[in-house]
Amino acid sequence: MRRNITVALASLALLLGTAGCNSFLTGDKLSSDPNNPAQATIQTLFSGIQGAQFAFQEGTVPMMVCMWVQQCGATNGRFVEQAGRYVFGAGSNIGANGGDWATIYAAGGVIDMDTIASMARVAKDDVYLGIDLVWKGFTVGSAADLWGSIPYSELRTSTTPKLDSQLVVYDTVQAMLSRAIVALQSGVKSLATPPDLVFGGDAASWIATAHTLKARYFLHTVEAASNGKLGARTPTDVWNDVIAQATLGIGSAAGDFSAFHSGTSYPQSNMWFQFQDNSAFGGDLDAGKALVDYMNGRNDPRRADYFCTNGAAGYAGDDFNVPQPDVSFFDCEPLRFTGDFRVPYVTYQENQLILAEANLALTNTAAAQANLNAAYAAVPGLASSATGVTGAALLDSIMMEKYVVMFQNIEVLSDYRRTCIPALTPVSPNVLSLPAVPGELFYPQTERNANANIPDESAEVAAGVRTESDVHPCTGPGAAAYP
């Protein structure tokens, strides 16, 4: 009996003793993940934000926008065509662009841009900081373009950040780009040059890009100014700001802000190429009739870069409302769809066309014609001229050239909702009975699920699926520019 008691007491002591000793349960590969690094350098994070934002600027959103403005068409009834037909809510295969939203904020997005900025500030490298801020301004500005009001000011202070008004976000982006310009102009460097695939760390190129971006985002507020939504700021104030910034913007095609893709593997390639070459859905996307017809009409030399020829060795586009036979696809991988093509995001041509639109709005017709001619001149073999074109016809020429130039670029949606050019017929019928081309993306369910500040999708439908700066939707042919 005594022996049994001794064994029991020894066991209890062992039990309690071991329960209190946790060294067996902690240690190097026990307490921390051996598969992934716990630290990242500023250089590796900078590469990461390029990878993520290249993906965003060439991913689902520009593909959808391409279809909405009918530069692209679609077929086969699967998610590509459905997105083109305005099926893009939380319940759709696009899932209200939850992945794109994550690319804005999460890995390779704002969270890593903020870490880079902190590191650059600690190291007192203003050039690094400035480049990072241009990327961040472009990213946050793109999000405001596409979703309208977005979480921003409370990102680091609230687990459920409120939505900042789109116009407030544009102000924030303007301030961010101004800080970037000041930092870049200081020229203060202390770190190794960033692994900058766009400009190789060249501060002057980033300064010019920041100015063009500022012009772009001023331009996005002109419809709001025309409708008294900017307080004392008049449309003329806005146009003057646009011209002031674009005048300092990208001055030649050599200064274009374009992606860089090695094309050595799919995840390091142009996403438009990846989609054609490595997904099962590339053939669902085809050329859009509105763009092809316009380019055919003036024998545009860029067609071979944009589209494959059809069965008749020509170019033809599809129409969501009246499906067309024998249309052009992208499966032959024309220049714009090759793996190492540098997809343009912000360019000299855009800068000239921004200037043209602003000069025309301020009735500087000659300057506007010169700007448009400069944009034309950047396209070898294009036999178009702005000389003698005035008024509404000149605006149409400016915006249609921009419509061609900005193929594969999210900016076409802002251009369309501001000017209602080209005269598109919205897809009808569509399951949400939207009367106009969607002016924004729905908020993804992933954000709504954990953030009570996100409105229901039905409320977004009731509000017309358009952003604050898009005061009047373009309902179809005949809708007035700048209403």
Binding site: T18, A38, G48, F54, A55, G91, I150, H261, P323, L432
Partner: protein, 534 residues
Amino acid sequence: MRQLGGVGRQFIALLPFKLSNTVTQDLPVDDEQVIHDAGWLAQGTLDIKDQLHLGAAVRNDGSSTFGRNDLRSWFPKGSLAWEFTKAIGERSWLSYGKARVAYGEAGIEPVPYLTSQTYSSSQILGGISQGTGNLASQAGLPGLASSFTRAASVLKPERSKEFEAGADFGFFKDRADASVTWYNKTSSDVILRAPVNPSSGYLVEGANAATIRNRGWEASLNVRPLQQADYGWDVGLQWARNRSLVQKLPQGLQYVVIGDFNRQIAQTGQPIGVYLGTGFMRCGVSNNADTVVVDGVGTKGVLGTFCGTAPKGALFIGPDGFPVQDPDLRIVQDPNYSWTASVRSSFRFRKLQVSGLLDIRHGGQIWNGTKGALWSYGTHKDTETRATCTKSADPSTCTGNVKTFGQGGWWDGPVAGPGKGTAVSIGEPWYKFIAACPFIGIDEPCIEQGGFVKLREVSVSYTIDAPWVQRAIGFSSIDVRVSGRNLKTWTKYTGYDPETNLGGPISSAAGAGGVDYFNNPQTRSFAFAITLNH
């Protein structure tokens, strides 16, 4: 544990099956997990007069995967059983009786490293569909990006507490036996990758995120009416009912996705695994303030205007005669069965034995995405009869195959709205641009009842034990058995098999069942077996 692996895509030549024979290769998988567990168990049992059985145990479990402050936890359990027939004596009809209760707690450890904050070089950033997306490393420059997973600040073991009570009976000198059990199992601090709002910079966070209760009954009855040396017959019946309920989620979180394809979720107040999808606008279900088009020229109104006297669930019909998508998500499917049962019977006559098993699943719904896709392609049987349309997406250009929503066997039920009673032609615009659930995202047309009765197995066996067997081959006997599985299904489900699930049985067991999307049905198999007994 260390996993090394590689994926090659597109063979260059048919053989060999080597990575070097592929056009492209994914990033190699090199994953290491080190987990230390340490547990202690103390257990005791006590029998009183061979009729009262008591058991008690306590565990102390520790795991390196828990949070730093919660490395160890205690888990008690106990049971009590009383063979009351030993106290009251056997009756002519009751040969055995036992009442039992038990209570136990158990812990589940999380996957490792949920408490580590890391960066990743292998996460796919952005992308349009499978096969697209970028890595953080670009153009040969090394890159990292924040992990999508935010490190858990606190992580305790998931703890389940289960109480069960029941009784076992033997009747008529073991000609029959029966058992009934009631159980109530509550899992608290359930470890999930709980979603966080992506604007925070992360997508998920490992967390003790849920409390889930499972409560139910299990009953069985086995009867052996014929028991003779030369022949015998027995029948077994089993019945079970489980009700799951998600009782708690982290504050501010609407749901946690547990599905691997559809948005099947855990949501407070709902059974586990319901599908948060989309449907058509319905009175009393959709928001009365929802915007609807009220006439042929696009005038806008609100849903509530049309739902005044309509019963709850009435289908809103737009001015064109078709139902309209509700833009808000709602629960459209509950894949959980109301109850399950099985009937097993076997008959033995001398050396011949015939047995069969019937499985029954009552209730539960299936999302038939296969049908939705085939509708879109125009290859489903339903599309054989269809309208002729001059524009594929515009129903106003269709003629023929006329239906009216809400009547005549076409979406029968109450309807409301400006287009109620309007006859429409059902053709490509309906099947491809409204009803094609996997591509449109309106799930309602694809939800079907998933109950079934299935002849799970029939087998016939014969034992040959004549003396020649021993003489000829040196074995005492030969069993010859022929059996067939999944021979026949009785169901209203229109797909191939109501039992199928895209995520397979593991996904079903986790609560995310009822997804049919080009997955294989249960196989029908036939077996012929010869067993040599020595």
